[in-house]
Point group: C2
Chain length 403, copies 2
């Protein structure tokens, strides 16, 4: 029950990149041939690359390997191999071997060295990884490689997502195309879920890495579905531009702006498709002493089960929002806090607004999209966080996920 | 749908203390005469007292006033006045006045100075406080004062609690009787919900305060229902012993042991009666570098929506438990972690135990009470945390609480 899932415009091809998929029955052999579950992205030239990863201390082997590969080879990346249906996480010693085997089989299929290939896995944690089934589908993925197959690639990395998520942007003459997945276990911390972005804009790895971190902080790190960060969150950005012979970009501001818009779009799609989510809520926090404080307050509201069930119940129970602000753990002055829901002023400088009527608040909370605006009255920094509600559907999905 | 709510033994009277209640229609005037919602505890002699309060930065006026009263007068406390049905929180300037008015009206009714009276409020946040209705019931509460009315007093502080919670213990010749309430917004941080404990053991305020903090850390601070800390959490401990003329206690170890048992009992009752809770889960964390680390890991597991929905679904989805450990934010070594559910070994030193079968785990998770044991393999410290599951019933209760 996604909230106002928009009709997505077709993806734009990006010079230097092709994508292909395969149906391997990763989650169970019976699914082979029924749904695509392996995505392969291949670059025709060496790419500069950047990555942002989960801060969960239980990092899956693919995350650790990807980080090491980027560390050694960020100027010469050629492919990403990814699967849904199994996170290959929490299985101890075997995990690393399986992750290496997946990269090896992709390397063999596309004729590249393993140290030029990044990988990502998503799905159930703690279940043995079906490496043989994945290996047997690799040629199928290579045969499917095509510059227009981004939408299929987005489809193949879905787990509980109800729709595939992609976006393309232009930055001057260059193109950015990104795909992402995510629906539950969404509370990214530094990175998120899976997101793969490619561009032909000629940026070096040294330019890409800090930019991707900044952009992730303003997009994927500003959403929360259920407050749980996954073991496998990974966001990769590959640029073919330098490999294609374009002169390196000096002024990257237009590109960063386009990349930010693309990432915010993908991040919002993830919230709209959040497990059981029936409302899409934008939380704007202003008047904070620092950007980090603003985001902390926004996320504290966004993860509170009591706030999220109030959203679900269309109940303008703003006391729970105050309580969540108080739980954020940052210094606040309760006499300076103001709160609005859309244009309805609820609290002004710590006091209930004399004209506030519960019915006005309830009318806003009854909408399927609305915004909360919290002003902390302490400084000039701000942040925007996007979240959904906590519904019966979330319980149903997650009490029955494996069965 | 409380989980195995035990039959509670009758409370023991405590020399020096009486309790009484009134029905004031705090939540709505129609409830007047239908349910008790104001509790008054009066001591016949000056009491030494201690208090532990919420760490939520949005602290209700009664919390701030109580802290100030204890600071000024911890050797001479005579009464606690408390109400359910309205938290008197989040209402700005009026809040403090209403809180002072409740104390004044109790002071007038029992003939004491206001600076000897502590207060507490619980219920909906952000709704105007019906001080007139409360004031009008004060004489009723005074008339009801009786050394055996603890169970009624426990009943009158309930909000969404499905049963009243109390416990009595003996420590040598002395008696400890405590009452508590709490069902949702339960993730105490330093203190919890409402808890009022009285004893005739002759301990000074200087002995009581650090002891209460230690005991809260091992009891109320080790439970979680939904990860939300309330604005009004308050735990008070009053001792009449010195006022009754007993010689001050030197060796307080037996008393602290009894107090700890009583608080753990009350804390567990709160989890058993947690909103929508259908399972009672004990999480033991051992092998931690510090007690704080152990509790942080236990609480991270206890608050994860994905872990809690797995409990609800009787799904031994232990990958989610590992992910929650990884999200705790403390240093871990994933190769050293072991995990058991009751006596079923799942993970040993980071690897799936060769004899683990999913059916064995599922059998444990199907029980309505079970324990998880996490060994971090890093040190010798440990902690135990108690929690419940996250069910459809929780959503129903909290999406409809005010309506």
């Amino acid at each position: 029950m996604a909230v106002n899932a928009p009709h997505l415009s077709p993806t734009l091809p990006v010079p230097g990149f092709r994508a292909g998929t395969a149906s391997c029955g990763v989650k169970s052999p019976e699914l082979k041939g029924k749904r695509q579950d392996v995505s392969l992205i291949v670059a025709d030239v060496p790419c500069h690359a950047a990555g942002v990863f989960t801060q969960n201390r239980f990092r899956a082997a693919c995350v650790k390997l990807g980080e090491a590969t980027l560390h050694a080879n960020a100027h010469n990346i050629r492919a990403i191999i990814a699967n849904s249906g199994n996170a290959n996480a929490g299985t101890g010693k075997l995990e690393k071997q399986w992750s290496e085997d997946m990269i090896s089989s992709a390397a063999a299929a596309v004729g590249l060295d393993t140290d030029k290939i990044l990988s990502a896995s998503t799905g159930v944690i703690g279940t043995p990884f079906p490496i043989d089934r994945i290996r047997s589908g690799m040629d199928e993925a290579v045969k499917a490689l095509n510059e227009n197959h981004w939408e299929t690639a987005a489809d193949a990395i879905r787990t509980t997502d109800t729709f595939a998520k992609w976006s393309s942007k232009k930055a001057g003459d260059y193109t950015i195309t990104g795909i992402a997945k995510g629906s539950g276990m969404i509370h990214p911390n530094m990175a998120t879920m899976l997101g793969f972005i490619v561009t032909d804009a000629p940026l070096s790895a040294e330019q890409l890495q800090p930019m991707l971190q900044r952009v992730a902080d303003r997009s994927f790190n500003c959403i929360s579905v259920d407050g749980d960060s996954s073991t496998n969150d990974t966001l990769y950005l590959l640029s073919s531009g330098i490999g294609l012979g374009h002169p390196p970009m000096d002024d990257t501001s237009e590109f960063e702006q386009a990349l930010t818009e693309l990432c915010i779009e993908l991040a919002q799609l993830i919230v709209r498709d959040g497990e059981g989510v029936s409302k899409f809520v934008t939380i704007e926090v202003t008047g904070a002493a620092s950007k980090a404080d603003a985001r902390t307050v926004g996320r504290s509201i966004a993860v509170s089960p009591l706030v999220k069930t109030a959203f679900a119940g269309s109940d303008a129970n703003w006391g729970r929002i105050l309580s969540a602000i108080g739980n954020a753990g940052i210094e606040i002055d309760t006499d300076k806090i103001s709160l609005k829901a859309d244009n309805v002023i609820i609290l002004e400088s710590g006091n209930l607004h004399p004209e506030y009527r519960d019915g006005d608040g309830m009318a806003v909370f009854a909408e399927d999209e609305f915004s909360l605006h919290v002003d902390l009255g302490l400084g000039n920094e701000s942040a925007t966080v996007w979240t959904g509600d906590l519904t019966h559907e979330y319980i149903t999905i997650n009490a029955e996920y494996r069965t």
